[in-house]
Amino acid sequence: MKTLNYWQAISEALAEEMERDETVFIIGENVQEAPFMATRGLIERFGPDRVMDAPLSELAIAGATVGAACAGYRPVCDLNFADFVYCAADEILLKAAQQYFTQAGKVNAPCVFMGVAGAGFGTGPEHSHVPSAMILNNPGLKLVLPSTPYDAKGLMKAAIRDNNPVCYFFHKKLMGFTQEIPEEEYIIPLGKADIKRQGTDVTVVATLYMVHHALAAAEMLKNEISVEVIDPRSLEPLDMDTIIASIAKTNRVVVVDEDTQRCGVAAEIGQQIMEKCFDDLDAPVARVCSANMPIAGAEMEQYCIPQVEGVVAAIKSVCY
């Protein structure tokens, strides 16, 4: 075993995949220096032909990613901020997502759009999103949200090997989080949830940094409420079976998601719960999400995004 932090785990996954498969390359803005660390160190190992610093042109970068993917490569497009999906929406949400469908299954676009996501550093309305719902609204894209270094590595390797465009958003707040990583290679298949904490009274579904909020809340409540924390790890594909099995046991559920509440991930998961295991519910599905407003920056940020206290309150609200 070795101890790696979150970005080192991602970087190691990228390096291993680039080593294994020469069609894998990285394209993006400042991917050589890597302001968000995840691609750091790769330039020395693989050179500028495979770690390509591109102009600040998200449409061109994303479009070239899709084009190269269609033509036989497995590019990893580093958007830097996940928010920049908005800048490259045409190419990611229409072209990448729909390539396989539009071309009648004859051409697919195996690529990864990675970006650092989430709030926590007061970076304001345009650099703090986890734009999950927007991605999920465009079938054809997969969405991976790793909450730990172990998951981050195994999921990145699966994302690169997937034959579809995969959005891989990792969280700013998790950068320094360390964990023991096996020496031997491992891959975590997309669509397999992980039970991050066992419990019997209430199920909390959360991804990315919200998993840690859920775990903190569970710890705070451990003497009164036994909380089960489920991390789906990918929202498309989504492992509803694990969620349903947990609810069959607990009969109560809170969905925590960092994206905007309205028409969001929690709404979708909540609805699926009602469709698939209504008869197991003993309380209405509760959700904790970002407020329906732009994400404020600096000091005001905390009033827009989910906090541990909010998760605790939501858990209590369903455990009557």
Binding site: P55, L59, A60, G67, A104, G105
Partner: protein
């Protein structure tokens, strides 16, 4: 033109006639209500796709322009266009399996797919070219766009990126002086789109888009350059669309009908007639041969129509399987 053999010249002419006949077929079927989608006629544009694609290798990439929905490019690349018509009838034998009725794909012949929103052509073709540059197979990408596409941001991002990285891509702008209903004179700050190439430090050239030989010659030069690793080029082929933006739409400039005299003036330089005249003048074409080529093209179009009509619709149950690749 002079460098071409008699057979090459005749082939180009045949391609033009074939393209026109198939376009006319689509136009007729659109008016008959048989097409299950919209259709943007390529009439007036034929020389560009045919001329430029005729010099490509089989494994070179082509990103088709929307006009003719692939027909001029497929014909130019020596691909049977009958699947275009089948696609527009929504048939399973269409280029896109009848799934979208619009988008075309022929992976084996380097047509990796065509998008719906314009401008995307620029960035995706840069991606094809990036792959071509990486794989060392000396492939190039020929990408056809309209003048409207150049007005989108992707055009500029792609030209800059491809020029920086010397990607083997040639952008052929089919400038028919009209983006939808808005004329270029009101929507471009410069006279010639080719001049944009200077900004991105690559060759730019204005070409007579009605003259198949001129297009072929200019394209050949740009493609050779790309194949040699010297980077992208921008060709602006001046042309004119003979029909409305899409079938069944009023043919207007802004909101008033396009002047009949203007259309008549451009039709004097119809790319097919222009080519025919040149070949008749140089004794390559005879009256008899012209008739024979027409008859062959008519027969081919009839066969295409039959093929499309008789083909089955796709099985809708396959749709969910097309969302994600296995």
């Amino acid at each position: 033109m002079s460098r071409l053999s008699k057979d090459q010249k005749l082939e180009l002419y045949r391609m033009l006639v074939n393209t026109r006949k198939h376009d006319e077929l689509n136009v007729r079927m659109a008016s008959e209500g048989k097409l299950r989608t919209f259709y943007h006629s390529a009439q007036g544009h034929e020389a560009i796709g045919v001329g430029a694609c005729s010099i490509l290798n089989k494994d070179d990439f082509v990103y088709p322009h929307l006009r003719g929905h692939g027909i001029p490019y497929m014909v130019g690349k020596r691909i049977d266009p009958k699947q275009s018509v089948a696609e527009h009838l929504g048939k399973a034998t269409g280029w896109g399996g009848g799934i979208t009725g619009v988008h075309i794909v022929d992976k084996d012949n380097g047509v990796l797919g065509q998008g719906g929103t314009i401008g995307t052509a620029f960035v995706l073709s840069a991606g094809f070219a990036l792959a071509a540059k990486k794989n060392g197979k000396r492939q190039v990408c020929l990408c056809f766009v309209g003048d409207g596409s150049v007005q989108r941001g992707q055009a500029h991002e792609a030209m800059n990126l491809a020029s920086c990285w010397k990607l083997p891509v040639v952008w052929v702008v089919e400038n028919n002086l009209m983006a939808w209903f808005t004329p270029c004179c009101d929507s471009f700050a410069l006279k010639d789109i080719a001049d944009m190439a200077k900004t991105y430090n690559m060759p730019g050239k204005v070409v007579d888009g009605m003259d198949v030989f001129a297009v072929r010659e200019a394209a050949e030069k740009a493609i050779d350059r790309a194949r040699e690793g010297q980077g992208p080029s921008l060709l602006e082929c001046k042309t004119y669309r003979f029909r409305p933006h899409s079938e069944g739409r009023p043919d207007v400039c802004h909101y008033l009908p396009r002047p009949k005299e203007e259309i008549a003036e451009w039709k004097k330089r119809d790319p097919i007639e222009l080519c025919r005249k040149k070949l008749v003048d140089s004794n390559v074409l005879t009256k008899k041969l012209i008739q024979k080529i027409d008859e062959e093209a008519d027969a081919k179009a009839a066969e295409t129509e039959r093929f499309a009509q008789e083909s089955p619709y796709p099985d809708p149950s396959i749709l969910p399987s097309l969302v994600y690749a296995p």
